[in-house]
Symmetry: C2
Subunit: 471 residues, 2 copies
């Protein structure tokens, strides 16, 4: 995902437990703050919401399934056999869950392959840097590129030192503040450096300094600038290169990358439904993206988003809660380096987008939920806020000013569909984002269950309530 | 280093600042707790201690020099050109500092080379593990070793499942509690597994779960068991392999390692002195080890120990504080995989060990100092406690029940020399120990300066006081 996150302290398990206990008591309490002004139609959902929350919180099913996805297939970059195996597995499991209309909707996706890669300081003394090539980068020549480094702290500094750039490896050393401010050096830095004559581009990993952990991610070339190889180095190594330069002994670096962009291959969005009992042609879509970068096990980005939205349907099915409208889960393919799943869905379902009542994406991690972001008209927002009051007991009732997601974006923009995102405590997200450390141990089973509960209640009520959202 | 550390919370910079302010006021205060019973000879050291602390804390010289060592040479495994370059650099810098009798004392050291290495799950779906071969391990055959994994939680469990071991890759998945309890699976696990017929041995990294960070370190083979390749996997990957087994689908792993043990090469201990003004034949030795594992930049293990002990001499030289006895710094070579520096020193100086008044090693990181560990007779301990009262202002006055270090160990044992170690807040030490994340950013300049101050005061007084320590 690519939204900006603020550094909010992650609550303890104790607080989560307290919230759960509070939820248990609230569902039987006669009067709760805010309920006095709630519309009468909401009352019909208090008992189902209680059952949904209870079903989600009674076991660790969702965490266990996310672990199985992560452990069995590992990372799942577009074009990899692992991604396709995970897609097949998910569809098979969904059929086993009793979901309806389970299908793969084919999508042609890019096939970038990292290959072997390495970066090392060669002067004044040889030692290794810890790096990851950026997705979409070209390779170096077979024997690599070796040059003196020029470390800059901003595009302005790059431009100011334009005369020093030719023949150098430019290093963008911009400490992480938030994703929005720093990711542009990853995505556009290579072309900006090449414009001034750089032979390669290194970017400080977009995330906090941690365990000398490199962060990969997508980069793109402009049509007009020369294409040069681009990689991320760890925050630690960027600081090292900075100190070398500041000391008057800038390091020379040899970069070797064998990345290749192969022909597109077929992948698929995974789709499953609970068909609506009265208005099956009206659809509420929820989902996450099944692809990941080719490091870590894609547990947080975005296995978690897939599993919690899928599990919302599984729970409703188990509870025999068939909503008035169709509830559809989509596990999107190719979010990370192409967004082909999102655009293919928009094109394939163009005729039906007018009947898409709402689309929700979870792609910010399945940490402690705070609520949802929402984009839609005022009437829809008021309704969503009303529904969210059912989640006050699990402290997931906040509705933020905007919601959406990369994969649902094309459809949402094409048809003006109300859109939501899950909103979670993001304080640890960017430490592991696009790194080898995106693994299961970073994810708490109770927090996963809370996400399932929040999404299932919200999606069920939006799909079931008498009036269509926003009308 | 290999001592057991307890998980004590690391204090904030604020607390450090408060301690420094306290120190400033204490040196001019007329009465301080404990001083009432201090012997009269200590009074002569109050003013020098104040000057030493002031000189150490007035700038970031020691941190800057440690950064230069780390950045310029990177890691420094025995046998590597980087180690020898760092040794030459240190001797040259020591001469520039005005230290006396600067010399390299040659030592033949082992030359183990990691080579290329890789571990990946091959069944049920192929994906990479994050690993580091263990120092001293043999290579796999050129095409690797591939086998089903058997995950065990203890040597007892290994023995109990002896019938399941033949042909398997044994994985020791013992979560980190402390170094002493868990490092034995790294050092001896391969031979124990081979005894039962394992084809390779993987050990959960000896350290807390963090950023999917692998921890290397030494392992040894018994003389009687077959030799099999041995590597560490990250805590995250050990947990993954455990879950796979618990799920009834144990992973198959292919391990490829090209490690080699080459013929011994020449290295050296770096030695420098401030010659004693009255009893130059009596020697106080302080130091750390200049070699490191072949990952990270060896900043904490043990560049820091080298720099703070060396800087103690530099400061005394600057302040014209020439002690009664000789003060010698030794930057030991080959602590990590052979201890040849420590044994060579013992042998080379065998005739002079009786004149070694005290030996101190810093090899637990240069984090916030708490004091020193000390081993010696009761009279010596009482004296050391008295000297440590000069460090109450920087909160580094505690004398623990035992002190020593790997490198000084051979000499200390040979001649019964009183021995000390620096004692620091070790709460973060084992997160980075023997990992690529042992880098400069983990080290705080003020904490480095506090270590310099504490060591310089202690070493100076022991070397200068009228009576020889413990007599």
């Amino acid at each position: 995902m690519s939204e900006q996150r603020s550094p909010i302290v992650r609550p303890s398990r104790l607080i989560v437990t307290i919230a759960i206990l509070a939820a248990a008591s609230l569902t039987t309490a006669p009067a709760v703050t805010g309920q006095a002004s709630a519309p009468a139609w909401l009352d019909a959902y208090r008992e189902p919401a209680s059952r949904i929350i209870g079903e989600a919180m009674a076991n660790t099913f969702a965490w266990d399934r996310l672990a199985e996805l992560s452990d069995t297939f590992g990372h799942r970059l577009s074009g990899s056999p692992q991604l396709e195996q995970a897609i097949e597995w998910a569809a098979e499991q969904m059929r086993g869950d009793g979901l309806e209309n389970v299908r793969l909707e084919p999508v042609m996706v890019p096939h970038w392959v990292r290959g072997s890669e390495r970066a090392r300081i060669t002067r004044p003394s040889e030692h290794e840097l810890v790096m990851l090539g950026l997705g979409g980068s070209i390779a170096t020549p077979p024997d690599g590129v070796e040059a003196e480094t020029l470390v800059v702290g901003s595009f302005d500094e790059l431009d100011a030192r334009a005369d020093d750039v030719p023949g150098k490896i430019v290093v963008y050393n911009v400490p992480f503040t938030n994703y929005g401010q720093t990711v542009r050096y990853r995505t556009t830095g290579a072309s900006r450096a090449a414009r001034h004559g750089a032979v390669a581009s290194l970017v400080r990993s977009v995330g906090p300094t941690a365990g000398r952990t490199p962060h990969t991610g997508a980069m793109t070339y402009t049509e007009t600038d020369p294409q040069i190889p681009a990689a991320a180095v760890t925050a630690e190594d960027a600081d090292l290169l900075q100190r070398m330069q500041d000391r008057g002994t800038p390091a020379w670096v040899r970069l070797e990358m064998s990345a290749q962009l192969l022909p597109d291959v077929e992948s698929a969005n995974v789709v499953a439904e609970i068909r609506g009992r009265e208005l099956p042609e009206e659809v509420v879509v929820i989902g996450g993206h099944i692809d990941s970068w080719d490091v870590g096990t894609g547990s947080t980005d975005d296995g978690g988003g897939c599993i919690i939205t899928w599990d919302a349907l599984r729970i409703l099915q188990r509870l025999n809660l068939r909503p008035r409208r169709t509830l559809r889960v989509v596990l999107w393919t190719n979010e990370e380096n192409g967004l082909r799943g999102g655009t293919a869905y928009r094109d394939r379902h163009a005729d039906q987008l007018a009947d898409h009542v709402m689309m929700l994406e979870s792609d910010g991690g399945v940490f402690r939920p705070r609520g949802f972001g929402f984009t839609g008209n005022d009437r829809a927002r008021a309704t969503v806020e009303t529904i969210a009051s059912l989640l006050v007991g699990i402290d997931a009732h906040r509705i933020g000013p905007s919601g959406g997601g990369a994969d649902i974006g094309p459809s949402v923009r094409a048809a003006g569909i109300p859109s939501m995102s899950t909103d979670v405590d993001g304080s640890t997200y960017f430490t592991i984002h696009h790194t080898p450390a995106d693994t299961m141990d970073k994810i708490d089973p109770t927090e996963v269950a809370l996400n399932v509960a929040a999404v299932a209640v919200m999606a069920y009520v939006v799909a079931d309530m008498p009036e269509r959202l926003g009308q």
